[in-house]
């Protein structure tokens, strides 16, 4: 990595290795599938083979009636409904097992229980489904206009939601001399975490509780959901999320499968488990990224953006998820499209359309990968229209630092940062001028070189007011952390967020170390268990290091005066004369360790002062930033792309990132998060796609057809940092978990379009497969026969 130094020590800013690495590198992680309970039964879901149809009947195989469940057999489970306060929002009703209708291929229709998965599948394939096929709604544009065929019969059309936004568009657009319009498309995808969804549930007689182990980002939210839709008290449920092999948004919502398996354990008081397989994931989990844009930019002669007009269509699939609702995606798309740019007129109409596909979920980057793709492609299109360098045009349009904090055209409040500087640094680190010279020379192997840039800002740790504006049924408020001093002077931190690759078992310990000074080896972070952690809405929206980190910091700060008070007593001095320094209390005539202080409180109370704080050496404290509209991380990415125009191959020759996430808690973790995100972004740009045929049949149900990027497709990415602390958060931390996945499609497409500019080729639809690239070149050849096309 580019800058191997971090701050010395183990506190905020130190590049310490992750505590969680040892168990994962040795294969000793503990995932749901690693848990085996005596007498455990395997659950398999029979899924709809048809995209849209009337479910007339289900015939259970003879002899297996008691182990096959249809909707009527699980009457105790309520249908999943996620209400929203957004105007125009229509409520979808999702039965845990299909009832009346099937609405996408992969929708659970029946549930089978057996000793092994194979036996359960044997039974499942004998179940007969009587489904009367209806025309499938596969294309969101057509579904939007269709009122005869409807995904939800009780609706008048197929619109989940329509958002209209206008801020000064008419007046600003009139000033423009350049008008550029583009149609931009992103394919549907699956999130493809290494570990799919996984649930084991059993009944604990001693606790009188339903214990649900599930691979989730948000154990507390899943408990709320299970209680709500099973109709039981929350106290009767304990949700444990052990090691989780990737969440990415897939695992921040309640799944019908979770309800069904929990219900089995609740009603039969035995252990049951369901482990999603890859084929189920690629079909029933094809649920993200699919946006269509028609964007028109209004600019002046120099390419200065004055106004933007957009129509966004989101293919929402069949159901709105609980608790985030389908409103999150259109809300984020509409609000985030203007990105890091300064302009004054904006109009946007966003349709979120119901189709016969799995319901849309928020995937890492939520809507911003799409909006960044659209915005950055249009930036380059403006540059081409005014015949200027896309770098220059982009640079001049970025919000300058002197305007920070800045209220942008979509009424987002950007807290801090120097956006143009990040872009300028990318230019320098990439050696843009050197590449331009090489490009002008041409490559001996006939490949064409292009350079692409993209800039974005990433709203992170946005809180109550923002989620309330998206109309959610469950809105984050204060996040809490419990910090406990152990009798031997160590710390135990309990948080309600979940760490599944983010490295928070390390970074939260670093935050505590910053305040208390205990070595991080002696700070244990406990998470993922509603039984022993304080409530949190969980890990999503790049929020956890700000929210849980803030709560940990504040809880530690709360303990300091208590340590000092006891320490001063032990040192026989006044508390005012003592101070806390690196896990010791220091007085005028000596020092006493946290261990001695903790020993006094827990084991030798006769040594305590009479007026000791009775709340002791444990504190649970809530936190949210002073301004809850978000701490905005930002970055610019730049890449050099070589296009092989004869076969349609693309190679990324260099990839540079300059990112600013405020105060970094651990630069190595920041880089790891960024790298993983970029790999996913490269997947979106070049490989991943869940295509459907006209009948709504998914065409990529294995990795044979669904192409993931692998190690050889990820270039050596160079990451550089600047630090503009947020004025609103503790320590100035900003969240950054999603950012890496936002810019790559924009960067890569801009690079390819730059490479192919002389051929008159412009591509704007993910994924950029060799075939699509060659087709675009072929089309350009037919359109401009005079040009020299490969």
């Amino acid at each position: 990595m580019s800058e191997l130094h971090g701050k010395p020590g183990q506190g905020i800013g130190a590049r310490v290795p992750r505590k969680e690495d040892a168990r994962h590198l040795h294969g000793r992680g503990n995932f749901v599938s690693d848990l085996i309970f005596p007498g455990q039964r395997e659950v398999v879901f029979l899924r709809s083979p048809i995209a849209h149809g009337i479910l007339r009947g289900i015939t259970k195989p003879a002899g297996f009636e008691s182990v096959v469940y249809a909707r009527a057999d699980i009457a105790g489970i309520r249908n999943i409904e996620a209400p929203s306060t957004l105007p125009t929002y229509k409520l979808s009703t999702q039965p845990p097992l299909a009832q009346g209708k099937v609405r996408f291929v992969g929708e659970p229709v029946a549930m089978v229980v057996a000793k092994t998965r194979a036996e359960a599948e044997d039974i499942a394939e004998q179940i007969q489904l009587d489904i009367e096929e209806l025309p499938a709604l596969v294309d969101a544009h057509r579904a939007r206009l269709d009122t005869d065929v409807r995904v939800h019969n009780e609706w008048s059309d197929n619109l989940f939601l329509t958002l209209d936004f206008d801020n000064n568009f008419e007046a600003e657009s009139k000033k423009a001399t350049i008008v550029v319009t583009r149609e931009i498309n992103l394919a549907r995808q699956a999130m493809v975490p290494m570990e799919g969804r996984a649930i084991v549930a059993h009944w604990d007689d001693r606790a009188g509780q339903l214990i649900v182990y599930t691979s989730t980002q948000a154990p507390h939210v899943i408990r709320v959901g299970l209680a709500q839709f099973l109709g039981i008290d929350e106290g009767m449920i304990r949700v444990i999320s052990p090691d989780v092999g990737g969440g990415f948004g897939l695992k921040c919502v309640l799944w019908p499968e979770e309800l069904c398996v929990a219900w089995l354990a609740l009603t039969q008081k035995k252990p049951f488990r369901y482990i999603e397989d890859r084929r189920e994931h690629l079909t029933a989990g094809a649920n993200c990224r699919q946006h269509h844009y028609t964007v028109t930019a209004y600019a002046d002669q120099r390419g200065r953006l004055l106004a933007l007009d957009a129509q966004i269509t989101i293919d929402g699939g069949a159901y709105s998820n609980w608790p985030f609702t389908i409103g999150l995606e259109p809300g984020q798309a509409t609000g985030n499209l203007p990105g890091p740019y300064e302009f004054k007129g904006y109009r946007c109409k966003t349709y979120c359309v119901a189709t016969n596909k799995p319901g849309f979920l928020p995937y890492r980057g939520v809507a911003r990968t799409g909006v960044c793709f659209a915005m950055e492609l249009i930036m380059d299109a403006i540059a081409r229209a005014v015949d200027r360098d896309p770098y220059e045009v982009r640079y001049e349009n970025l919000i300058p630092p002197q305007l920070m904090p800045y209220n942008n055209v979509s009424r987002k409040h950007y807290d801090s940062g120097d956006y143009p500087r990040a872009l300028a640094m990318v230019r320098e680190k990439l050696d843009y001028d050197g590449w331009l010279a090489r490009k002008a020379q041409g490559e001996p192997d006939g490949r064409l070189i292009g350079i692409g840039f993209a800039s974005y800002c990433e709203q992170s740790a946005h809180g109550t007011s923002v989620f309330a504006s998206w109309g959610l049924p469950l809105i984050p408020g204060y996040d809490q952390a419990t910090v406990r001093t152990t009798p031997d002077g160590g710390l135990e931190i309990r948080v309600g967020v979940h760490s599944h690759g983010q490295g928070m078992e390390t970074t939260l310990a670093q935050v505590a170390h910053e305040v208390v000074g205990v070595p991080i080896e002696r700070i244990r972070v406990v998470h993922g268990d509603t039984g022993i952690t304080p409530f949190s809405t969980g890990t999503y929206a790049s929020r956890s290091i700000v929210m849980a980190g803030g709560a940990v910091g504040r809880a530690c700060q709360t303990l300091l005066p208590r340590y000092i008070h006891i320490g001063a007593h032990l040192l026989k001095c006044k508390p005012d004369d003592a101070r806390f320094e690196k896990s010791e209390v220091v007085g005028p005539n000596g020092r006493v360790s946290l261990k001695e202080i903790a020993t006094a409180w827990f084991l030798r109370p006769e040594r305590l002062p009479v007026d000791v704080d009775r709340d002791g050496l444990e504190a649970t404290v809530g936190y949210k930033p002073t301004v809850d509209t978000g701490a905005f991380t930002y970055a610019s990415h730049g890449a050099v792309i070589a296009v092989d125009p004869e076969v349609g191959g693309i190679e990324i020759l260099d990839y540079v990132i300059v990112e600013d996430c405020g105060t970094m808690v651990n630069p190595m973790v920041v880089e790891g998060q960024t790298l993983g995100g970029v790999a996913q972004g490269i997947g979106t740009a070049m490989f991943e796609e869940s295509p459907y045929d006209a009948n709504g049949q998914p065409l990529a149900s294995t990795f044979m057809d669904y192409t993931m990027p692998g190690a050889t497709e990820i270039p050596a990415i160079r990451i550089y940092h600047t630090e503009s602390p947020s004025p609103y958060t503790l320590f100035g931390i900003k969240g950054m978990g999603e950012g890496g996945a936002i810019a790559p499609p924009a960067v890569i497409f801009n690079g390819v379009n730059d490479a192919l500019k002389d051929l008159g080729v412009e591509v704007n639809e993910t994924p950029l497969t060799p075939k699509k690239l060659l087709e675009a070149i072929e089309r350009a050849r037919q359109a401009h026969p005079q040009r020299k096309v490969a």
């Binding site: 092994t116 076969v647 070049m686 490989f687 692998g710 060799p770 075939k771 087709e775």
Partner: protein
């Protein structure tokens, strides 16, 4: 997905394997590396009652050089061919082809016989062995016979192999010291089956000139006229127009994009051969 129920047997010689298959009356399948059969079993696209594992039959496991030919047992893995550089000095194309198949974990298990029997149109061995003029030895209840590799594969996933026959070995001629060859395939991702592939072998001492295109909808297709032209005239016969025309004639069903991709691939394979 889990496979439907099946039985498993691991015979120790070819004869026992053939018997085991025949005894199951069409309900059995040979299992070699399982790299193609495994997924098909799990997706329940195939449901044999019995798997006859041939992967450890000694007679199918060796590479031997005999009178100017190389005999590769059907159960030899891609990785073993990749690593057999020394014993394959007289046909260095074999390890070169093996090295480009999928990635090492697949090559550690996948076998040359399994690849030929499976007959994926984008697979490397059907193409390479056709270009190399290999002969495939098959064996069954009716006895042993040999089939020229260029005629072995009939269509996608379809070969001359009878239901009760097994592939026993592949006989590949050694190349002359003056032989030149080239292989090129274009995969959208490392380890993926290719979108386009071509291989060329020019061995003037043995009067051989072959250019084959693969990764089509069916079996690999020879470009004989182009190969002859190049053998006679050298690089001057290798023009973009000549290659494009050869592909268009040999594979008329290709669309413009497919033709372009295969033409570029063929051009690169032949260029590589001529430059070697």
């Amino acid at each position: 997905m889990k496979s439907a129920k099946f039985d498993y047997t691991r015979p120790h010689d070819v004869r026992a394997a053939i018997h085991a298959l025949a005894d199951a009356l069409g309900e059995a399948k040979f299992l070699a590396g399982g790299q193609s059969l495994g997924p098909m079993l799990n997706l329940r696209l195939t449901r044999p009652k019995l798997l006859v594992d041939v992967s450890r039959i000694e007679a199918l496991r060796s590479i031997d050089v005999v009178n100017g030919s190389i005999r590769i047992g059907a159960a030899v893995t891609h990785a073993e061919i990749e690593d057999a550089g020394a014993s394959l000095a007289r046909n260095a194309m074999l390890p070169a082809v093996a090295r480009e198949i999928a990635y090492r974990t697949i090559r550690n298990r996948g076998t040359i016989g399994g690849s030929l029997a499976h007959a994926d149109p984008a697979a490397d061995w059907p193409l390479a062995l056709a270009a190399l003029d290999a002969v495939i030895i098959v064996n069954g209840p009716a006895g042993q016979r040999s089939i020229p590799s260029a005629r072995f594969m009939l269509a996608a996933f379809t070969t001359q192999l009878a239901d009760d026959e097994m592939i026993e070995a592949i006989i590949v001629p050694e190349l002359s010291p003056s032989a030149r060859w080239g292989t090129y395939k274009f995969c959208k991702r490392t380890g993926e089956f290719p979108d386009a592939a071509a291989m060329a072998v020019f061995d003037p001492a043995r009067r051989i000139a072959r250019v084959y295109v693969g990764a089509l909808s069916g079996a690999p297709v020879p470009l004989d006229a182009l190969a002859r032209g190049i053998a006679q005239q050298g690089a001057v016969a290798l023009t973009a127009t000549a290659v494009d025309r050869a592909i268009a004639m040999a594979v008329p069903e290709l669309d413009a994009v497919g033709r372009k991709m295969h033409a570029a691939t063929t051009m690169r394979a032949v260029q590589q051969a001529l430059a070697s």
